[in-house]
C-alpha cells in the first residue's frame, strides 16, 4: 500500500465542459464517495462519458471546479478506467496486464505473480498466453478490467462495460463488478441498460443534456423517480 | 532499443572507415571510354600490369567528353581516351601533364544487309556518308560527346554534310554508348559508325554487317595523360605515372598488340609515333 492521501471523494462543483458552441456538461455538481457502485444513466449524448473523463483528469473542465480528496491537483495513481471499447495491446493477455503493472510502478519480480493473480480474479488464467486481440469481446472487457485493477484503484470507472456483449458475457462482467465493489473499490459505471443499473448499482445519477437531472439511491430512483424526465426514461420513453 | 541502433550505426561507420583506408592503398582511378572497356582490352592487359607493380587499376568507363571532365574535376588520376583534339586542349588548359600516344584502332561503318544507301564494300568513307545523306538512309549517332561521336562528326564535316538538318527524319542521336547504338541500329535497320573492337565483341548483330572499312580517315588514335597534380594535389602522381610508363613500354605495347578477338588484332601499338 502506498502512503498517499486518498482520491475520494471526487467532488464536482458547477463543472462545465464546452467544445466550441456545444455544451457537453452543464454546471454539474455531484460527488463520488466510498460505497456501493454508482450508475450513470441517461440517453446517448447526455454527457456520461465526458463526466467520467473529467473525473479521471483526462480532460480539463472549461468551467467550475473539481477536487479529489479535497485537493484540486493531485497524483492520479489510484484511479482506473475501462473504456467502452478497450484497446488491446498487441501482446498476450498476460503481457497486457504486465504492462499495466509496470506503468503502475511495480518491479519485475512482483509483476509476474500479480499478473497471474489478476488474471485469476477476472477468470482469464487459462488464456494468459493468448494474443489479446484474439480474445472474444467479453474476454477483452475482462482483460481491460484486470489492467485497471493492476493500478490498485480506489475508484474504478467503467464506460458502458457490457454494451456490445451477449447476456452470458454481460453476467460474467457484472459479477466481477460486484466482486470488485465487495473488495472496497468504489465503482462508477455508465450504462444505458436499466436492468443492469437495477442489478448492480447502489445509487443512480441520471443525466440528460449535460446536466445531472436526478441523483438518488437506486431503490428510490426506480420506485419513485422525482423528475418527469427520469420517470419517462425509466418507463422506456425517449428522452432527448 | 535506441542504444542498439546507435551501436549498429557506429559499427557500420567504423567498418566503412576501415574499408576506405584499406582500399585506398595501391590503386589508381583511370578514366577511359566505354568502347575501350567493352572491347575487353583492359581485362587482357591490366592483370599483367598489376602482377608486375602491385598497383590495382580501377577503370571508370564513360564517354570521352565525360572522361575528360572526370579528369578536370580531379576524380581520376589518369585519362585514357581517343579524341586527339580534345586531349590536346585538356593539356593546354593545364588539366593534364602531357599527352602520349599509346595505340590506335579503327572505326568501321556498320550497315544493314539491305544496304539502302548502296555503300557496302566500298572503301571511301566520305563518299559513303554523302550517299547516306543523299538517300536519307537511317543513321544512328551516339550523340554523347564520346571519341566515337567526335570522329563521326568530323567525318560528316569532311564529307561536307550538315547533319543538323537531318536530325529527326533519318539522323538519330541517342546519347548512349556504342553497344546501345548498335542495338538501336540493328533493330531499326540503320547505319552506324562503330569502333572495330566493340563491333567484334558485339553479340547481338541481327542483320548488321560492316559496310565500309579501311579508309585512313577511320583510324582512331588513343592518348594517355596524367591528371595534373599541380591542379589536384591528391592525384596519385607516382602510381599514375607508373601506369603510363608501362603502357608505352615494350611490355605494355606488346600486351596491347597481343589482344585478339576471334583471332583478329584490335589495337595497334603506336607509342613514340608522335
Amino acid at each position: 500500500m502506498r502512503a498517499e492521501p486518498g482520491l475520494l471523494p471526487i467532488a464536482f462543483e458547477e463543472v462545465s465542459l464546452r467544445a466550441g458552441a456545444h455544451t457537453i456538461l452543464d454546471r454539474v455538481s455531484l460527488a463520488f464517495r466510498p460505497g456501493p457502485p454508482t450508475a450513470l444513466i441517461g440517453p446517448n449524448g447526455s454527457g456520461k462519458t465526458s463526466l467520467i473523463r473529467v473525473a479521471m483528469a483526462l480532460i480539463a473542465p472549461t468551467g467550475g471546479r473539481i477536487s479529489w480528496g479535497g485537493r484540486e491537483a493531485t497524483r492520479m495513481d489510484r484511479c482506473a478506467m475501462v473504456f467502452q471499447r478497450p484497446a488491446m495491446l498487441r501482446r498476450t493477455a498476460e503481457s497486457n496486464v504486465d504492462f499495466a503493472l509496470s506503468a503502475a510502478g511495480h518491479g519485475r519480480a512482483r509483476r509476474r505473480a500479480r499478473a497471474r493473480e489478476l488474471l485469476d480474479i477476472v477468470g482469464l488464467a487459462a488464456l494468459a498466453g493468448r494474443p489479446a486481440r484474439r480474445l472474444s469481446g467479453g474476454e477483452q472487457q475482462r482483460l481491460a478490467l484486470a489492467r485497471a485493477l493492476a493500478r490498485d484503484p480506489e475508484i474504478l470507472f467503467l464506460d458502458e462495460p457490457t454494451a456490445s456483449l451477449d447476456p452470458a458475457a454481460t453476467k460474467a462482467v457484472e459479477e466481477l463488478i460486484a466482486h470488485v465493489a465487495g473488495l472496497g473499490v468504489k465503482v462508477v459505471f455508465a450504462t444505458h441498460d436499466l436492468g443492469q443499473a437495477r442489478r448492480v448499482a447502489g445509487d443512480i445519477a441520471f443525466l440528460a443534456r449535460g446536466r445531472v437531472v436526478e441523483r438518488a439511491p437506486a431503490d428510490r430512483f426506480f420506485a419513485t423517480p422525482a423528475t418527469a424526465d427520469a420517470a419517462a426514461f425509466v418507463r422506456g420513453e425517449l428522452v432527448i | 532499443m535506441m542504444r542498439r541502433f546507435y551501436f549498429v550505426v557506429a559499427t557500420t561507420a567504423a567498418l566503412a572507415a576501415a574499408f576506405s583506408v584499406a582500399a585506398k592503398d595501391r590503386s589508381i582511378v583511370v578514366a577511359s571510354t566505354t568502347s575501350t572497356q567493352d572491347s575487353g582490352l583492359f581485362g587482357h592487359i591490366l592483370p599483367t600490369f598489376t602482377a608486375r607493380t602491385g598497383i590495382e587499376v580501377k577503370i571508370v568507363a564513360q564517354g570521352t567528353g565525360q572522361a575528360l571532365d572526370t579528369g578536370r574535376r580531379g576524380d581520376a588520376d589518369v585519362v585514357f581516351v581517343h579524341a586527339r583534339a580534345q586531349e590536346e586542349k585538356f593539356v593546354a588548359e593545364g588539366h593534364g601533364v602531357k599527352r602520349l600516344d599509346v595505340m590506335y584502332n579503327d572505326f568501321v561503318l556498320i550497315g544493314p544487309t539491305s544496304d539502302p544507301a548502296g555503300v557496302a564494300g566500298t572503301r571511301d568513307a566520305r563518299a559513303a556518308l554523302r550517299s547516306i545523306a543523299a538517300k536519307k538512309a537511317p543513321f544512328v549517332s551516339r550523340g554523347d560527346r564520346s571519341g566515337t561521336h567526335a570522329a563521326e562528326l568530323s567525318l560528316w564535316q569532311a564529307a561536307g554534310i550538315d547533319v543538323a538538318r537531318g536530325k529527326g527524319p533519318w539522323y538519330r542521336e541517342i546519347g548512349q554508348g556504342m553497344g546501345a547504338a548498335l542495338n538501336m541500329a540493328g533493330t531499326s535497320e540503320s547505319y552506324v559508325l562503330s569502333d572495330r573492337g566493340t563491333w567484334i565483341s558485339f553479340k547481338n548483330r541481327g542483320a548488321l554487317r560492316i559496310a565500309v572499312e579501311g579508309d585512313r580517315l577511320l583510324f582512331n588514335p588513343y592518348g594517355i595523360m596524367l591528371v595534373n597534380p599541380a591542379r589536384h594535389p591528391h592525384v596519385k602522381a607516382a602510381l599514375g605515372q607508373s601506369f603510363i610508363d608501362w603502357m608505352v613500354s615494350r611490355e605494355g605495347q606488346a600486351a596491347i598488340g597481343s589482344y585478339r578477338i576471334g583471332g583478329e588484332q584490335l589495337f595497334f601499338p603506336s607509342a613514340g609515333d608522335g
Binding site: A87, L89, A104 | V8, T12, A23, K58
Partner: protein, 230 residues
C-alpha cells in the same frame, strides 16, 4: 566474363566474378539499409508522436521523397562527393562506401514514412489507454516500437528491396568499375548495352530471386506478427 558460356552455367558453376558482383550488391544494399534504418526508425517515431508546428509539411515532404528518382540521388551525391565538390576531400567517389551512403539517402524516406505510419496508427489506437494508465513518455515510445516491431521490420525490408533493385544511384556514384563497384544492376545495364543478353538475363534472374526472397521474408514476418501479437 568468359565467352561462350551461358549465364545459367555461370550461376550454377559458381563463377567467382559473378559471385563477387552479387556479394557486392548485397553488401552495398544491406549497409545502406542498416544506415538508413538507424536514422529513419527514430525519425519515424518522432514524427508520429511529437507535435510541432511544421509537422504536416515535413510528413508531406517525407512521403514525396519516397519517390525520389534514383538517378537524381546519384547525381546529387556525385556532385557532393566529386573531388571538385564540397565533400571531395573525403575522396570516396567511385567507391562502395559512397554507393552505400547514396543508397541510404534514397531509402531513408521510405523506411521513415512507413515507420511513421505504423507507429502513428498504433498510437491512435493506444492513446486513450496510455493516458488512462498514466504511461510516461519513454515507456510509451518503447511500447509502441515493441508492438509495431513487425511493421517496422517490414518497412526496413521495403527499403532493402528498393536499394537492391535500383541502378541509377549506384551507377552514377560508383562508376561501374569492374571488380570494384560493379553491382548486379549496373552489370545488367552494361551487359545489355554490350549486346551480351544471355549474361544480362542470368544476372536479372538472380536479382529477381533476391527480390522474391525479400518479399517472401516480408510475408512471413507479417504472418509471424499476426500469430504472435494477434
Amino acid at each position: 566474363m568468359p565467352e561462350g558460356i551461358s549465364a545459367w552455367d555461370l550461376v550454377i558453376g559458381g563463377d567467382a566474378t559473378l559471385y563477387a558482383i552479387i556479394a557486392l550488391s548485397l553488401g552495398v544494399s544491406l549497409s545502406a539499409t542498416v544506415l538508413a534504418a538507424a536514422i529513419a526508425l527514430p525519425l519515424g517515431a518522432f514524427l508520429a508522436l511529437v507535435e510541432f508546428p511544421a509537422r504536416a509539411s515535413v510528413v508531406v515532404v517525407l512521403n514525396a521523397f519516397m519517390g525520389l528518382p534514383p538517378v537524381v540521388v546519384g547525381l546529387a551525391f556525385f556532385l557532393l562527393l566529386s573531388r571538385s565538390g564540397p565533400l571531395g576531400f573525403l575522396g570516396v567517389l567511385y567507391t562502395p562506401e559512397a554507393m552505400a551512403l547514396a543508397q541510404a539517402f534514397l531509402v531513408l524516406p521510405i523506411i521513415a514514412a512507413l515507420a511513421r505510419q505504423a507507429i502513428e496508427d498504433l498510437w491512435i489506437e493506444y492513446r486513450d489507454e496510455f493516458r488512462a494508465m498514466r504511461v510516461g513518455g519513454a515507456a510509451r515510445v518503447g511500447a509502441l516500437i515493441r508492438d509495431a516491431r513487425f511493421s517496422l521490420v517490414t518497412a526496413v525490408l521495403a527499403g532493402f528491396g528498393r536499394a537492391a533493385a535500383e541502378v541509377g544511384t549506384v551507377m552514377v556514384v560508383g562508376g561501374n568499375i569492374d571488380g570494384f563497384t560493379r553491382t548486379m544492376t549496373t552489370a545488367i545495364a552494361l551487359e545489355t548495352s554490350k549486346g551480351d543478353l544471355a549474361l544480362a538475363i542470368g544476372l536479372g534472374l538472380v536479382l529477381i530471386a533476391v527480390i522474391v526472397a525479400v518479399n517472401a521474408l516480408v510475408w512471413s514476418v507479417r504472418r509471424a506478427g499476426e500469430r504472435i501479437a494477434g
